[in-house]
Amino acid sequence: MMSPHSSKAATKLAFFSFIGLTMALFSCKRLEEREPITESRELSQYARKQLVDIRSADRFYDQEAPAEDPNAPQQHPLVWVTPEGWSEKPSSQMRLIDFSFGPNGEGECYLSALPGPAGGLAANINRWRSQIGASSLTDEEIDKLPRKNFLGGPAHFVSVDGSFKGMGDAASAKQDYRLLGLIHQASELTLFIKMTGPKALIEENAAKFDAFCQSVQFRKKAEKIPSH
């Protein structure tokens, strides 16, 4: 049982707490015409990359807006960040983005797109593997391949070492090469990013490959707003 003394002390404490609480409740600050910004936050390393100077029509999904300059050449459908040390080559119908790198430009990395499933995932992965002299993978093995995030979704990641002949014959194969690739299947098209070169050079540039893949975005197709 509580002593009368402690009961009195508790009563006083409660009384002054109530007065303090009431004062706090009624001390709400009135908003002024000028308010200093007092809050800041550090953005996550996973935050969406900065999209700078996007015109209003694209910000507001206005597909019917007139182009900024009707006489201006058509813009590339993709935006990306070129890794340091990589040289950009003019894009073509087959290679939407094309780079070379390395002391003699022996490393190359390009992005291409084909409509629809483009023959299917397994066929494309095994086509790449045959270009570097590796055996085909089964569907189960392909299913176990790692995924990397690309354009907001998962893409199959391929890494193979061998003798790279590309589209040529076995006699012209370049020894001790490595192929890194991403295949992203969307509903209407399949996107490929393929990087090849001497193994040591590719090892040096693997992080740049990842950074480049992460930087690729559609210019006009805005990122999907998360539904709540």
Partner: protein
């Protein structure tokens, strides 16, 4: 004759009185009634803010309550609003109730073996009110949307909006943003007060940011009439109805898209750049000052998790022979720096850790036309220090009332009250243990 009671004693007597408790409980009943009726036209979040999270209710929309009761069927009174600040809000009433119960139910109550159960129950109810206060002030709740293969360590609030200003920096540099809380700009609607604006300043910025023409639910529309005074870069803010045309129901707060006009005023020259901020915009508005660019946007408040989550794989089970989902499952990896931990989140089976709980809340199998075949999972993230307090409180209330009941029963039956209470508590504890073991 006894001396008259002192003023503090009288105040304490008033604060701990049954009369005050009855009035407070009566007012809480009125608040619940009005808040529930207004919810039909204002939505859950707005109604909660006005009636249950306020010190005073700023106004009562009699017309909305009238319509919610379907009385307009007999007599349409139109828009009747009581612009009075006399009805205390839920926050103030709960604070008064807490003080009343603390003084009356714990301090001033006659303490004897006969009242021990009542004291325990009062303590538990105080604990429940405290849980409500802790939830209101400290709990965070939001959504984390991930596509397969994606990693993130931030979740977004369901209801809190902010305006953020971020300086554009080279890739790889640490990114920071200045944040303006919604309570600082949601009064800047110009529906009744044209030109209402507020200027936000910060020493690190070469400009002051003026926010005006805020709308709770709107979208930018192309201005075909070039003479429109409110057009910015060929667009104006078109307010939208909060009624969903498909269901004729009020849209949930999460579905609303706020918009406002931002004016960046150069501190040196006074030159202005104008942009429209829209919650659902594909990208922020860019303001340029010399060589430095700033990204300004309005959106949900972001909260940081103490770990990152990677969505590895999603699975969906359907009811046999139907397209109706039976179960969504997400295989995720919890990343603590280099340490990785594989976890599974599925419906009604959240992942808990470090004060946070992640629940599977939505799922997208990627078959929608704009989903591009990409599977997504939405996780509801909850951080609530008092998550289990209401449950604990209910258990303590039950024990207190059980003790009180056994005390009264043993008096009537001429039993030894302590033996009766001890036996009852032992039986109840055994029941809990068996239930826990079996379930």
């Amino acid at each position: 004759m006894s001396a008259p009671a002192s003023i503090p004693s009288r105040i304490i007597a008033f604060l701990s009185s049954f009369g005050l408790a009855a009035v407070v409980l009566g007012l809480l009943l009125i608040l619940t009634f009005l808040g529930t009726l207004e919810q039909a036209e204002y939505g859950l979040v707005a109604s909660q803010e006005r009636y249950f999270e306020s010190v005073f209710v700023d106004r009562i929309d009699i017309g909305a309550c009238w319509r919610a009761l379907a009385f307009d069927h007999y007599w349409n009174i139109g828009n009747v609003i009581l612009p009075v600040n006399i009805l205390p809000g839920g926050y103030l009433l709960m604070a008064i109730l807490f003080v009343n119960m603390f003084l009356g139910g714990l301090i001033r109550i006659r303490k004897s073996p006969r009242t021990i159960g009542v004291v325990i129950s009062h303590f538990a109810i105080l604990f429940m009110i405290a849980a409500g206060a802790v939830t209101y002030h400290f709990a965070k709740e939001g959504i984390l949307n991930l596509t397969e293969g994606q990693t993130h360590d931030e979740f977004q609030s369901f209801h809190e909006r902010v305006i953020e200003i971020e300086a554009v920096k080279p890739a790889g540099e640490k990114r920071t943003a200045l944040v303006i809380d919604q309570r600082l700009f949601t009064d800047l609607s110009n529906s009744s007060d044209h030109g209402k604006a507020r200027t936000f300043t910060h020493e690190s910025l070469p400009f002051d940011l003026v926010i005006t023409n805020w709308k709770q639910h709107a979208e930018p529309k192309r201005a075909t009439d070039v003479t429109r005074g409110d057009a910015v870069d060929g667009y104006f803010i078109q307010a939208l109805s909060r009624i969903d045309p498909r269901t004729s129901q009020l849209l949930a707060d999460e579905a609303l898209s706020q918009a406002c006009i931002a004016i960046a005023k150069d501190k040196k020259t006074g030159a202005e750049q104008k942009g429209i901020l829209w919650e659902f915009a594909a990208a922020p508005w860019t303001a340029t000052f010399g060589d430095q660019k700033y990204l300004i946007n309005i959106g949900r408040r972001s909260y940081r998790l103490p770990f990152a989550i990677r969505l590895d794989h999603t699975e969906q089970e359907k009811h046999p022979g139907t397209e109706r989902a039976r179960r969504f499952t997400s295989k995720v990896t919890k990343l603590h720096g280099p340490r990785e931990e594989k976890r599974v989140i599925t419906m009604n089976e959240p992942v808990r850790g470090e004060g946070y709980a992640l629940f599977q809340s939505s799922f997208d199998d990627g078959t929608a036309s704009n989903a591009g075949g990409v599977k997504r999972s939405g996780f509801q993230v909850v951080e609530n220090p008092s998550d289990h307090w209401p449950l604990i409180s209910c258990i303590i209330v039950s024990i207190g009332l059980l003790i009180h009941f056994m005390m009264m029963l043993s008096r009537a039956m001429k039993w030894n009250p302590w033996i009766a209470v001890t036996n009852t508590l032992l039986i109840v504890t055994a029941g809990f243990v068996i239930a826990y073991w079996k379930l």
